[in-house]
Symmetry: C2
Subunit: 754 residues, 2 copies
């Protein structure tokens, strides 16, 4: 346990670093009074939404916590000690009563939910304070504007990662050391933390995603299309709601998403470590994921600190370049950290897991390139869409769809390769460790996932960079700042679009990679309930109707959930359009520019409507696995045979396993489609706006540029608008859904077992 | 074997009935010389395409047949006799050498391919002869026009069903009686027939689907949008290609699709019957599917003959009504046939299977209603899309996508329910039969599938009705026939759109329902190769990386395949647009109406381009399962334990099983999305064109109609165009892909087994 001291050190270092960044951002010039005025409207709108959203979520979470207490306490049989006996890991005496288990799970759920909410809240607070400071910096220099916006984003990034690390390790410490539960069963007792994090993330991402795109689509349709005024024009009552939306969707939503990714995957990895811990007697296998994350935080701090250095050295050019250099530094330092952590903690077979971790880090880098290839204007896919815009919106949509569907191939092949390779490498360690190939293979995929997530704080910082620069652009426009500042914020905004797309690719990849470890954890939980030794393999036979139909319903769930999320954007946008129209109608002074529209009312209406709209898809996500599990538990009676023992009436947990695993596959693929097609449409529009779409004119050798205002551009705007709810509502919500399926089934597993 | 005489009787009755229908259609008035002129251009174009397409397919099929011969002959070990021994079904001496097996499989493949091609060819021949006769009948009465078009469609429907029935039973008879192979292994020897049918169907559906939508989109974009001339205007050089497309896509394509559905599912069901046959000693279990199909043919003949009777009784009103009555008659008679077949053939436990069949028939009816609800203007979904068109093409697409994603829920739940219910009912018969619950449960799902497919000829007749009436409308327009005739063909065309949508819903449902029986047949084939008794269950463990990653790649395959199919439409349409533009440019007389465009050249260019475009997705579909199987076979070494025996190095066939099963789930769901969203967009446009979209005007109590030519209509046209390649290229090709996966893995299974 030589490296365990690193966990609190890295956790508190990250908090201190975030505080320093926040102090550094806040002490800077907040801009002209006009800028501050716009910024304060955004701030109030964002905070009001967050307060209202969190009170809704808090209510839902409290009810869920009580339900968890009664379900787990009512249907579980308590937790038995896990004993190692000649290479077999089986169960001993009961050490935790069932009501105690229910209480601990329920408390962990609330702690996870609270930590996630706290991280989102503080991150948002700084993010909406950074926007006017970025706008102000943009009046001076590009390099200063990058520094301010990236540091503002990094506050959120580091707090999310730190709170996840401190939260998981803290609750592990309290449950094992303070309450005296055995180390080997504590990971099972803290699964509620992951569920709490997923629960908050689902609603935060859904509500934020609906808000941001409804405001965006609504403001565009009623402003640009109907009234014929430019984007971010102060006469549009929905323009502040649009700027608020960038924060609540991309910042708070994605922060909650990655908070739960890290927490759930950490806990899942700890559960998988239990088997190897019991066989080898080394607790390192359980706490290893926490230590690896600590190294990741330190690497990220170094990488992020280096960005202003690269930004200063570069005059002009692509602002993405210094960000890429920073990412390389994080990756190199992560490899070093991975080497130390595996070498010191994982015994004689350490190098196999070192390679697994390398695969994970490599997968992260691969996704950075895959996403850029498919969504950036420099390559074939976006150009193809821009070209298709020449024959109108229909061909723009058709070609975009073809490109989006195509992007799933690179994603699936990369994830598949990483999974198989890390599983194979992990299995190689089995003989040295004395466990079965399956146990160490799955642990290999967990190490790969953890390796990939080492850079999470960096990715998240880049992601929050997006809404800050987007906001800065809006503030510049609305406050009448000089044209030069707008140029700088525009170039940052384009980078922000790329970093937002990258984060989504990263989140999908981590969800896909983590799938294997998370449902292996679910199977371990089922084994624990059925008294099946953890060292035995539990087959999930796809040729039984229960697993197959569970899977069919799982894929259906991701489609139906996406339908509800996309529809929610439409209905909420309709509300905003009505309100802006009403304001235009009732006060002609708004259009004339003599009176100010009531931004607050538009913000308020958007907030109410999007919070109402997030409930249906949220409840579907939580309710459907439970419903499927219960229906199959009582309606069917498939039996399962493990090591010669037959377990009858297993349909409930089998159908849930099918729903979880195959639903995950469907969710990862569909989210990839939504994220990439939306990003590609967005950038095809930008490609045309940048004047890069050229067609041969009648005279040989000369070209005509089809730029802003042409029919091709109008067609591309349609594609961009269609892509908005795809890439910012449905896609990101699907990542969370996929992981929520893992955590909810992990917590409620006893309910599905007869 | 009391009912076995019914198979040739029904088969030849169907052929005679088709001949009578053809005679009846051909003896009717072929219309004015102008009509005949247009019709002959369509006829020539369609036949030229079919000849060219079939020669491409024939070449590919011959190569594949040789490959099959060498693969099966090279890697198989020959076929052993199947013996029943105290309730266990195991293997005896080798009765077919491996090269003989390769030869028989290869011949069956060619026979299946040839039968499928023949059915498509004759059906198309009559279909393109019926269009001018329908146009002529439309100048006289609605009832006569319905009769002609439906009978023309029924020729294709009955020939497809009859050739499938006679083909499967004929090859079974030849291989078992003439060549003297044991009855129990013959179903395994004729799997090539199903693969041959799938192979032709895949290319026919892909080529036809690309042709039809490329011509449609191309003609619309260059005519309606660019040149501003109406649909089906004779000045548009692509208009004949568009009319040809309706035939080669909807008629030949869908015919091949259902031919292979019936053939593959029949053979799969026969394979599943082998276990029960060997245990009970009654060959009825193997030939039962063929007898049930024979009853279905007789029921369909009665139902179809009744339609003109209902059509005559009804004056005016919805032409869909007599078609629905006819379907009810088919369903009622099918229930009677099902009762007789199960009662006479399936021994003491017959009633369980009777109920399974009822579930299948009910599923067919349920899908008729589900499809109508989601794609017809009378209900919420289409109205919602029409309403969203008021705010432009973007909201039309967003709302349409939400509706399309939503439709997967009803589909998945209905299929899931039907599968579980028929499996449970089938298992109840296990004790009486003396087999395991699994064997009779899977046979139950097979009976449900067969029950559903009893009405296939009727559905197919209604489907081919679509292109005939569509063509009749075009001929009426181009030949300058009276307005009243155009009204009649328009109303028939609207019904044709509904029936085309119904057929797709039916095809998806049958693919979903059949999935279970088809991959159970694959598992039986694997058991046969590994010498595992057919009575043992073979677990496909989803928690192994092989099955999971195979599944991930399977879902990816259906997305990538759709991408290629959709893109092919775009590239082919671009070719057509270029050609029409060239003709307009080089001969100004075309636009003035003084000279006739070169229709033949446009037809020819479309044909070449679409045949070239079908190769890539086709090869992907055939190549990817083989590649995945081989890669996993050699790169991984997962072992499987059945009844205490461990089978090492099983990764190849496990990964293929995952790809097949989970790919099927993904394919069924994605096809449902594509088919329904396309149909809904189409009908939202028609809803607006019919003047049914009304919004409140400024004055209270009065409404404004947003009809043809408004912005809302233009937005709806965008949705309709986007939906074209979704619903007529990607969706239908996915049904075939899903079933091709089953047949190719069934035939090439030995290749994936070490």
């Amino acid at each position: 346990m030589e490296l365990i001291w690193l966990i609190p050190v890295a956790g508190f270092a990250a908090v201190l670093y975030a505080l320093w960044l926040a102090w550094d951002v806040l002490r800077r010039d907040p801009g002209t009074p006009e800028m501050q005025n716009v910024a304060s409207m955004i701030f109030e709108g964002a905070m009001a939404f967050l307060r209202r959203q969190y009170s809704t979520i808090a209510l839902l979470a409290l009810v869920t916590a009580v339900v968890i207490f009664f379900i787990v306490g009512g249907v579980s049989e308590g937790v038995k000690e896990i004993i190692s006996d000649k290479g077999e890991v089986r169960y001993g005496d009961k050490v935790v009563s069932r009501w105690e288990e229910g209480l601990l799970t329920s408390i962990a759920f609330l702690v996870g939910a609270a930590a996630s909410a706290l991280a989102g809240y503080i991150g948002m607070y700084i993010s909406v304070r950074s926007n006017s400071r970025t706008a102000s910096a943009a009046t001076r220099s590009l390099s200063e504007a990058i520094t301010v916006s990236l540091r503002g984003g990094a506050v959120s990034g580091f707090l999310v990662v730190a709170l996840s690390l401190l939260g998981v390790s803290g609750i592990f410490l309290v449950y094992s050391q303070l309450l005296g539960n055995p180390d080997s069963i504590t990971p099972f007792l803290i699964v509620g933390f992951g569920f709490g994090a997923s629960f908050v993330a689902l609603f935060a991402q859904l509500g934020g995603g609906i808000y941001t795109k409804a405001a965006d689509v609504g403001a565009d349709l009623v402003g640009k299309v109907e009234a014929g005024i430019p984007e971010d024009d102060p006469r549009n009552a929905a323009v502040v709601a649009d700027l608020v939306g960038d924060n609540v969707g991309d910042c708070a939503g994605r922060g909650a998403d990655l908070f739960e990714s890290m927490s759930a995957e950490n806990i899942g990895a700890m559960i998988l470590g239990v088997v190897i811990y019991k066989v080898t007697g080394n607790l390192e296998w359980v706490v290893f994921p926490l230590v690896l994350r600590s190294f990741g935080i330190l690497a990220t701090m170094a990488g992020l600190t280096s960005v202003p250095f690269f930004a200063r050295r570069q005059t002009g050019g692509d602002p993405m370049t210094p960000l890429n250099y920073g990412y390389y530094i994080v990756s190199i330092l992560s490899v070093a950290g991975l080497f130390i952590a595996t070498r010191v903690m994982l015994g004689d077979a350490w190098y196999w897991f070192f390679f697994c971790g390398l695969i994970g880090i490599g997968t992260g880098i691969a996704f950075v390139y895959i996403t850029q290839y498919y969504t950036s204007g420099a390559w074939r896919p976006v150009r193809e869409i821009a070209n298709a815009s020449r024959t109108g919106p229909a061909t723009n949509i058709i070609t975009g769809t073809a490109v989006g569907l195509e992007t799933t191939a690179a994603t699936a092949i990369t994830i598949g390769l990483a999974l198989v390779a890390s599983f194979v490498l992990g299995s190689e360690a089995a003989d040295t460790l004395g466990v079965k190939g399956f146990s160490s293979g799955v642990f290999g995929t967990a190490v790969a996932t953890m390796g990939m997530l080492m850079s999470a704080a960096y990715i998240l910082s880049m992601d929050t960079f997006g809404p800050i620069t987007d906001n800065a652009g809006g503030i510049t426009e609305m406050s009448g700042a000089p044209e030069s500042a707008r140029h700088i914020t525009d170039s940052l905004d384009a980078v922000g679009n790329t970093t937002k797309a990258l984060t989504k690719g990263y989140a999908v990849a981590s969800a896909g990679l983590a799938a294997f470890l998370l449902f292996s954890a679910y199977l371990d939980k089922v084994k624990e309930r059925l008294d099946i030794p953890l060292t035995e393999e539990l087959p999930i036979d796809l040729s039984t109707p229960d697993v197959f139909v569970g899977g069919l319903l799982g894929v259906m769930l991701v489609f139906l959930f996406s339908s509800l999320a996309i529809r929610a954007v439409g209905t909420t946008a309709a509300r905003i359009i009505e309100e802006v129209r009403r304001q235009f109608r009732e006060d002609p002074g708004i259009m004339a520019g003599t009176s100010r529209p009531d931004y607050g009312r538009a913000v308020d209406i958007t907030a109410r409507a999007s919070l109402r709209a997030m409930v249906a898809p949220g409840l579907l996500a939580v309710g459907m696995p439970v419903a499927v599990g219960l229906i199959f538990r009582f309606a069917r009676d498939q039996s399962v045979t493990v090591a010669g023992v037959t377990y009858p009436d297993s349909s409930g947990w089998l159908a849930v396993a099918g729903l979880l695993m195959i639903g995950t596959i469907g969710g990862v693929i569909l989210a990839t489609f939504f994220n990439n097609v939306g990003g590609a449409w967005d950038n095809a529009k930008k490609y045309i706006e940048a004047g890069m779409l050229q067609v041969p004119s009648g005279n040989p050798g000369t070209m005509i540029t089809l730029g802003k205002g042409t029919d091709a551009h109008k067609a591309a705007v349609v594609g961009d608008t269609v892509g908005d709810p795809y890439k910012d509502t449905a896609g990101p919500s699907l990542h969370v859904l996929v992981k929520l399926l893992s955590t909810i089934t992990l917590v409620l597993a006893p309910l599905f077992i007869s």
